[in-house]
């Protein structure tokens, strides 16, 4: 089957008719579909829109940082009309709006853009194909998972338009601030944030159950654990992270919701005084409890952001070096190790909430330990390049750039992980720089690579290479120009979440200029996304047609289905004979030996 000429749509439809005695209508085919590929694409489109939206919020914030308290050109007055003068006054963004945008940028990027794209979209579209399964184990659950996500997104977005505006206490929503930031309104942005989160968490839990079951149960014949593509391993571990790390935040979210709506004090200690009078609550709660429950999710969550990207990068590197991944086993063990350890490092976000020596020693030791498997993964990918015959297509460029970018992000995690150095760096722009290097040029590049790589599978057409390369080089340059200066600002001590960009403090004077620089770079970054958007939509209609079902000459199973794969995916039940990355096998006729190719 592998490398067969494109199976015509006619044939695949005929095949589908064997099982389905009716032709599904528009709604059940594209909107309420239970087909994992359609759901994957729904996830993908929705998440990309949120990604863009999150970026636009940030551009507005960067405008404020570059020119504090000056009217936002053009958009300012519009925002003022839409959001009211509390939020934008004579075109000037108010502090409340800055904070709301900040919280929503973090939330949207993490929970509504990257996770749905990395796990929901790629996981859904690719995983069943790669393991040789006809669909997910629970297709209807899969659909429910998407709609919970969608609903969660709608609730989050609608919070901008209620009185008082969206949640404005950071994506971390620390109590007591989250409970008292908007006391004038009974149902405030924070309330909707929490309801939205509970929906998103439910979505993730359903998704996680489904993915793990699928990977455990629906692997094709011969697809043993050590023959799984690394991407599938990454998805499996990600699934477990979501499954076991999210419930505490769900619990905490419900508790904070009750705090806000019904006056309980889970996270409010006794004797809070706000605006000169005692808060009329019973007290007796613990603000640090929220932080523990939040970060118990929060840290595994960051690996949820990175692992799928690592999986994608691994697939693309193997494919484009035309050689097996070096140290496949060590990759698998490392990713398991990372998954395992990521549950017991969370309090490195809380060093400065008042920690004794013993507990902080525990957490910084585990934090240093978790960096080792990350180093191993990165090293294995680096070493895989050696001896390859590297094809520099757009997916590969993004995958390659992922490595040093993640490297910078990961390395800057070390001084944050050591509590003594974190004393100074905590909550400064250094932290912002650290994690954006991992999630923006890191994860986003991994995801871009995946989009360029699997686009032909989903649509039967390539994306344009020239536009792709423009997109790549522009993004690479401007990502670095945006985030590298943040390390300098952080080192000077500039705090994050500063409405005026830190201008209040004399200590920041020497690095304030960088704010403007970063903001300009962010605009540059935005400009270089335009080729991508054009490319994306144009290629669906008029991209270069693929000439075979396996255009990249890859080995994994998703390439031995018709293009696009019909409902049920495989024409014939696939059987797996070898590992995932058998490229350039000595003595083989071609430089790739697909997993389902006999002998």
């Amino acid at each position: 089957m592998a490398n067969a000429k494109t199976t015509s749509h006619g044939t695949s439809a005929d095949q589908a008719h064997d099982h389905h005695h009716y032709e599904p209508g528009f709604w059940s085919k594209y909107i309420f579909s239970t087909d994992h590929k359609v759901i994957g694409i729904q996830y993908g489109i929705t998440a990309l829109v949120f990604l863009l939206f999150g970026f636009i919020l940030m551009l507005l914030m960067r405008q404020q940082l570059a020119k504090p308290n000056q009217p936002i050109p053009v958009i300012g007055p519009i925002l003022e009309k839409v959001l009211g003068t509390d939020m934008v006054n004579s075109g000037v963004m108010q502090a409340d709006l800055y904070n709301a945008f900040g919280a929503m940028h973090g939330t949207i990027m993490v929970f509504l853009a990257i996770v749905p794209l990395a796990f929901g979209a790629f996981g859904n579209f690719v995983t069943p194909l790669q393991i040789g399964a006809p669909d997910m184990a629970f297709p209807r659950l899969n659909m429910a998972s998407y709609w919970f996500y969608f609903l969660g997104g709608v609730v989050m977005l609608s919070s901008f338009f209620i009185p008082g505006g969206a949640a404005k206490s950071g994506w971390t929503s620390y109590s007591p601030l989250a409970s008292i930031a908007d006391m004038a309104h009974w149902v405030d942005g924070q309330t909707l944030w929490l309801i939205g989160m509970v929906l998103l968490i439910s979505s993730s839990l359903l998704g996680a159950v489904n993915f793990i079951t699928t990977i455990i149960q629906l692997r094709a014949r011969g697809m043993s654990w050590m023959r799984l593509p690394f991407f599938v391993w990454a998805q499996l571990v990600t699934g477990f992270l979501l499954l076991l790390a999210f419930p505490p935040l769900e619990a905490a979210g419900i508790m904070q919701l009750v705090d806000n709506l019904f006056g309980t004090s889970f996270f409010l200690p006794t004797g809070l005084v706000v605006n000169g009078s005692q808060l009329p609550v019973s007290g007796g709660g613990s603000p640090l409890l929220w932080q523990h429950l939040f970060w118990f999710l929060g840290h595994p969550e960051v690996y949820v952001l990175i692992l799928p990207a690592m999986g994608i990068v691994c697939e693309i590197i193997a494919n484009n070096t035309r050689k097996p991944i070096w140290g496949y086993r060590s990759l698998v063990y490392s990713v398991l190790c990372v998954g395992f350890l990521s549950f017991i490092v969370w309090a490195h976000h809380m060093y400065l909430t008042g920690m004794g020596t013993k507990i902080s020693t525990f957490f910084q030791t585990t934090t240093m330990m978790i960096s080792i498997p990350s180093v191993i993964i990165l090293t294995a990918l680096f070493i895989s390049l050696w001896g390859g015959s590297i094809r520099m297509n757009t997916p590969m460029l993004f995958a390659l750039a992922f490595l040093p970018m993640f490297g910078i992000g990961g390395l800057t995690g070390l001084p944050l992980g050591l509590n003594a150095t974190d004393i100074y760096l905590h909550d400064s722009y250094y932290v912002i720089g650290h994690f954006h290097y991992v999630v923006a040029p890191g994860t986003i590049f991994g995801l871009f690579a995946g989009i360029y790589y699997w686009f032909p599978k989903a649509t039967g057409r390539f994306m344009n290479e020239t536009l792709g390369k423009i997109h790549f080089w522009g993004s690479l340059l401007f990502m670095n120009l945006v985030f590298a200066p943040m390390f300098i600002q952080g080192m000077k001590g500039m705090s994050r979440r500063m409405y005026d960009g830190g201008a209040t403090y004399a200590g920041n004077a020497s690095v304030l200029g960088l704010n403007t620089f970063i903001s300009h770079a962010a605009i540059g970054l935005a400009v270089f996304q335009i080729p991508f958007i054009i490319n994306f939509f144009m290629s669906i209609r008029s991209g270069k047609k693929i000439s075979s079902d396996n255009p990249w000459e890859a080995t994994t199973l998703e390439w031995s289905t018709p293009t696009p794969p019909p409902h049920g995916n495989f024409i014939k039940e696939p059987v797996v004979y070898r590992g995932p990355y058998e490229y350039s096998v000595p003595g083989a006729a071609k430089d790739f030996s697909p997993q389902d190719q006999q002998a």
Binding site: H19, A133, P134, D135, A137, F138, P139, L141, L205, A208, V209, N210, I212, T213, I216, Q217, L218, L243, L244, A245, F246, P247, P248, E250, A251, A252, I254, M255, V258, F262, G263, T264, S265, F266, T270, P280, V281, S282, G283, G284, G285, S286, L289, L293, F296, G568, N569, F570, E573
Partner: protein
């Protein structure tokens, strides 16, 4: 291709899909309730002294109705055993017995919820009163000749409410002092002290509701969450028992699997209660 292993177990794992699915789901539920238990421990251990009347430790324990709780535990245990019997009956090809067992289960579930709502109501009408003089009581109130309660909604009083409603005084029937574990019952105190309290003398007044104390907050939160699980489970089991049981005729093995999976969830709900009961009621 069709999705494999929806009915028959996969040879190498020995499991069918739904079974893996439900156990994964239960794993996340374990962590969910586990997080709430951690919260409970943390809040309780961190409770400050001197906030609750007549109790040295500020955690107002011993306020829940133990006989009712015990009875409810038994109800839930019964429903748990009848679910296994229902499943076993199907395995033994006895559909009639299956249905009887399931009906008992569902009745137990609803019974549990009814009893629980009765308990809730008891708390919503029970008050904590602290006077400016420093005296503190628990008991029942009467405002303008009415006993405010859960059912006539929104009429739970606290000090602020009394003030806005311009209620000048309330009638308060104090509970008889209760023996705490390790204390002797003091026979000399009067059973029910009934008094008229002027609003201006009150330092704090509130029913036994979540906003009054972290204990009630966590008690209501965990039991309500558990209650929703009971309700959800009962609905699913009812579906299997009546409309969904058509599957028994078409795909009996798959139906048995469904009952097994539903049963697993139900046992889990029971299991949570096994820990909840001693923690909330007894300790």
């Amino acid at each position: 291709m069709e999705i494999p292993y929806t009915v028959k177990p996969r040879p190498d794992t020995g499991l069918y899909n739904a079974k893996v699915g439900i156990w994964l789901f239960l794993a996340s539920e374990v962590i969910l309730f586990g997080a709430l238990f951690s919260a409970y421990i943390l809040l309780r251990v961190g409770a400050l002294d001197g906030v609750w009347p007549n109790i040295k430790n500020a955690w107002p324990h011993g306020l829940l109705n133990i006989p009712i709780g015990t009875f409810n535990t038994a109800v839930l245990i019964t429903s748990s055993v009848t679910v296994v019997f229902a499943w076993a009956a199907l395995k033994m090809n006895n559909f009639a017995r299956f249905r009887i067992c399931m009906v008992i289960t569902i009745v137990c579930a609803l019974g549990f919820l009814c009893i629980k709502s009765f308990e809730y109501n008891e708390k919503f009408t029970h008050y904590e009163l602290r006077l400016k003089s420093g005296k503190a009581y628990t008991g029942h109130i009467e405002v303008n000749g009415k006993h405010p309660g859960f059912w006539d909604f929104g009429s739970i009083y606290n000090l602020a409410r009394l003030e806005t409603d311009k209620v000048e005084k309330v009638k308060f029937t104090a509970d008889p002092p209760k023996a705490k574990p390790g204390e002797k019952h003091d026979e000399s105190t009067p059973k029910h002290e009934v008094m008229e309290v002027a609003t201006s003398d009150i330092a704090h007044l509130d029913a036994f509701i979540p906003r009054n104390h972290t204990f009630f907050a966590i008690y209501f939160l965990i039991t309500a969450l558990h209650g929703f699980h009971v309700l959800g489970g009962a609905l699913v089991l009812a579906w299997f028992t009546f409309p969904g049981s058509k599957m028994w005729l078409t795909e009996p093995e798959r139906f048995i699997n469904r009952i097994e999976v539903g049963g697993l969830f139900w046992h889990f709900v029971d299991l949570v209660w096994i820990f909840l009961f001693p923690i909330l009621y007894l300790l």
